[in-house]
Every structure is written in C-alpha cells, then in structure tokens.
C-alpha cells in the first residue's frame, strides 16, 4: 500500500502547488483563503467559541479575487483551510488584439498571449486609452489557482 501512495505522489506537478494548508484559526483579515474552489481575499473574520454549535468556528466573509463575488464559509477553527498561492508578476504591454487578447513581453523576451482584457471597467478603460495614446504600459498580472487576470497598470513612459 505504501508503494502505491509513493507512486501517486510522484505524479503530482513538479512545480509549486496551488494552495497550502493553514489552520482556520490563524487566517486573518486581508489574508487569502480558498472557498468553494475560488481564491478569495478575507474581508471579515469572526470566531464563535466552542458551545452548543459544537467546535469553535471561524466565520469568513471573503471576496473572490477574480470576479469580486462575496463568498462565505464557516470552518471549525482547528481544521485546516486551503490558502491559495497568489503571485503578482509585471509584464510590459505590447499589443491588444481585436478579439480582446493581450500580448505581453515576458522577462526572457518571449511573448505571453493567453490573457484577456480585464473585466473591471476602470482598468479596461485605462489600458485601452493608454495603449491608444501610445504610452509605455506595464501591467501587473495576479495569478492564483491556475487563473490569471490583470489587476493593475503602470505608466512607465517618459514624463
């Protein structure tokens, strides 16, 4: 049986896993948590002590970092929750295609073309306008749980 387990482990992704476990009682406001498979940022935590409802519980209110939906969860404070690895990377904006895809310049000189324009209206307007005016733009791409999205924009052109 142990051979099988070992075999199973080696099939996992060679790279970093998407989440890591953390005890629910240690997750604070502004931290990250996975709720129903979505990476979320915690906006509210309240704990209720052990009582008639059973084990002490943490009540999380969190916002999905990609689609801004509000999600809730109640977890016994001694249980482990999944916390997503959230990475931010900067890329230079090269092009915006007609069907809404973005072309970005990566560190090693190749292009990254699989990202769409962000859905957030302000950000979308900033990118489109900035690009149209020919500005040098650097976008910050947030990635977590295998999903990516542009979350910020910087103008690095000459003043």
């Amino acid at each position: 049986m142990s051979d099988e387990e070992h075999h199973f482990e080696s099939k996992a992704d060679a790279g970093a896993s998407k989440t890591f476990p953390q005890q629910a009682g240690t997750i604070r406001k502004n931290g990250y948590i996975v709720i129903k498979g979505r990476a979320c940022k915690v906006v509210e935590v309240s704990t209720s002590k052990t009582g008639k409802h059973g084990h002490a519980k943490c009540h999380f209110v969190a916002i999905d970092i990609f689609n801004a939906k509000k999600l809730e969860d109640i977890v016994p404070s001694s249980h482990n929750c999944d916390v997503p690895h959230v990475n931010r990377t900067d890329y230079q904006l090269i092009d915006i295609s007609e069907d809404g895809f973005i072309s970005l310049l990566t560190d090693n000189g190749s292009t990254k073309d699989d990202l769409r324009l962000p859905t957030d209206e302000t950000l979308l307007a900033q990118i489109k306008d900035g690009f149209a005016e020919g500005k040098d733009l650097v976008v910050t791409v947030m990635s977590a749980m295998g999903e990516e999205q542009i979350c910020a924009l910087k103008d690095v052109g000459p003043k």
Partner: protein, 356 residues
C-alpha cells in the same frame, strides 16, 4: 375554641348582661358550627395517606395518591385517566381480521402512537448516547461555568465537548441526507429527519431509536431551535441546499387526528410551549381529544398557553367538553415516572389494578 372557656367568660354582669351574652354566644356558635351537608363518599373520597406500616410497596404508594390530597390527588386522577385511555384502547379496539402483526401485539396497542417534542428533546436524547450529562446545581455561577466549557440546564451540566461529539456525529449524516435529496428526490421533513437520526444512533438507550423501530412518529416543527439548528446552519454554509419541509409534517400531524375516525384520542402533555399547543391544536381537527393529562408548573394568570388549564382548550374545541381531563401542577421529573409506573409499566409487567 373551648366551650367551657366561653361559658366562663359570660359569668360577670347582672342577669340582663347574661341574657345578651347568651344570644351573642348562640349566633357565634351557629355561624361557626354551621350544619354541614353530609358528603357522599362515592363522590367525595376520604383523605388518607399511605400507611408505611404496609411496607414499601410502590404500587400501593401510587394508589394512595388519590386520597392524599393536593397535587398527589391530581396525580392520582391523572393515573386513573391514563389507565382508562389504555383500557379503552384494549377493549374497544379488538384486532380485526385484516390488521397487521404489530396491531395484534398487545404491547404495541398499549403504546403511544404520536410524540411531539422540542429540538432539545431530540438532540439531548442523541447526545446522551455519545457522552453523559452531569448533575450540577442551580447556583453554579455562569461566567465560571462558561470559562470551563460547561453549559448549565437547571441543575444539570452538559460539557461543550458533548456538542462537539454531536457535531462530529451528525455532519456526515446531514451530508448523506443532502445527497439523498438531490439524487433520490427524498423530501425531508422534521419527522423524517428525526426517524433517520433514530436509525443512525442505533442505541437502545435512545427513545428515538425505539420510536424509529416501532414506527412511532415524532414531530418537531421547531427542529432548528436547538443545537440541531446550529448544525443545520453550519452545514448549510458549506453544503447549501438541504430543505426540510414543515408543511408536509403539519399535514401528517393533523392527519393523525383527522384519520382517527371512530377511535378516541388521549393526550399526555409534559410541560408547555410548542409541544403542548401543537398536540392540542391537532386534536381540534377531530373536535377535541377525549382524554387529557397535563403535567406542568405553568400558571394561567399571565394568559400563556403553557399555563392554560384543560378548560381553556375546551373553549377552542381542542379538548371535548365531555373529556376526562386533569392538570397536575408538578415538575415532570417527579410526576411522570410515577405516572408511568402506575400505568404503562404496570400494564407491561402485567400487574393487576392498583385501585382498592
């Protein structure tokens, strides 16, 4: 007041004063010693307590309650009413040819058919199979108990840990119920949930286990008002979608009364609150119960339904005007075991009637 003293007091003045004193005496005497009607001993029982010279005889002691007075007499009357309920069932409901095996079994026919209780009445029964409740004291200070994780119910203590065990036990069952709801189209109602819990606990110390085994319906419209509700709440946040239909249960509950037909209904109500009203209300659908026994400590002066006497229920049609009713003003922990001993348990152990 001693007659001699009165006469001695009249001695002092002249003959006119003596005459007046005699008249006063006569009127006082006729007021104090007003002739009483004689009481028919068939209607008015003579008061006499239990004679412990007879030894320690449980049924004899219970039998003596009727003539002991106050609430003991009320309990004695309650015992009579319940025995009448059971006897009516056995004599008037002779098994018909086409009735089932279980109907024929006398034990079944003597038993209770419908139970109504609170959420606490359900969960505490289950929890006691997982971990014990302890005897404490009414005066234990609340803050101190809280810091030690002990919950007080009167003079009983329930450790928090008991509810943790209950949570660990019930969550997988709720998951399973949700699964059955979505895949097998099971419509859950409080009584179905309770039957399932009785099945799952599978412990002879649980009355819910026996209710499940014997097909006795247990209704609890306010199933969420207890630790069960907390569990349902927490469960639904993680796995939403479980529905519990109270409409179907009120159909079933009132149906129990409606489909009684030519039989009779008898109600035994311990305490007040929701179960008391729910039971009485259901009986309204057959124009009132035929027997009613209340055992509670509530008073009627505040207009509460809990404290309402059987006569108030008669005004609603929840109990028949012709019904045999009695209210025992007593805590059920005292009165109910005694009531059961003198009625159901006595019948079960096949002991002859305790009445002299």
């Amino acid at each position: 007041m001693c007659q001699e003293e009165m006469e001695g007091g009249g001695g002092g003045g002249g003959s006119g004063g003596e005459q007046r004193d005699q008249e006063t005496l006569e009127s006082v005497r006729s007021a104090l010693f007003k002739t009483s009607i004689s009481l028919d001993e068939k209607r008015f029982r003579k008061i006499a307590g239990y004679d412990f010279n007879q030894g320690l005889d449980l049924l004899g002691l219970l039998g003596s309650f009727s003539s002991t007075g106050f609430q003991a007499s009320n309990l004695g009357d309650a015992i009579e009413v319940v025995n009448e309920m059971i006897d009516w069932r056995l004599s008037h409901e002779a098994p018909t040819e086409d009735c089932g095996e279980e109907e024929r079994n006398t034990a079944y026919r003597e038993s209770v058919e419908v139970l109504v209780t609170t959420a606490g009445g359900i969960e505490e029964d289950i929890i006691k199979c997982l971990a014990p409740t302890y005897k404490g004291d009414f005066s234990l200070p609340g803050a101190h108990l809280r810091s030690n994780g002990l919950n007080r119910i009167g003079n009983l203590l329930v450790p928090n840990d008991n509810y943790c065990k209950f949570e660990d036990w019930i969550m997988p069952i709720l998951d399973q119920m949700l699964l059955e709801q979505t895949t097998e189209n099971v419509v859950w109602t409080p009584s179905k949930v309770i039957a399932r819990l009785g099945k799952e606990i599978n412990d002879e110390n649980s009355y819910l286990y026996w209710a499940y085994k014997n097909g006795v319906s247990v209704y609890c419209p306010a199933l969420t008002d207890g630790s069960l509700g907390d569990m349902l709440y927490c469960h639904s946040v993680r796995h939403p979608g479980l529905h519990i239909d109270i409409v179907q249960d009120i159909r079933a509950m009132n149906g129990e009364a409606v489909h009684v037909g030519l039989r009779k209904t008898g109600i035994i109500i311990l305490g007040g609150g929701l179960p008391k009203h729910h039971i009485c209300n259901a009986n309204m659908f057959r124009n009132g119960a035929d027997y009613a026994v209340y055992i509670n400590t509530a008073q009627e002066f505040d207009g509460s339904d809990s404290g309402a006497q059987p006569d108030e229920a008669i005004s609603w049609g929840k109990i028949r005007g012709s019904a045999k009713t009695i209210k025992v003003h007593c805590d059920a922990t005292l009165a109910f075991p005694l009531l059961v001993a003198a009625t159901f348990a006595r019948k079960f152990h096949k002991i002859a009637n305790i009445e002299p």
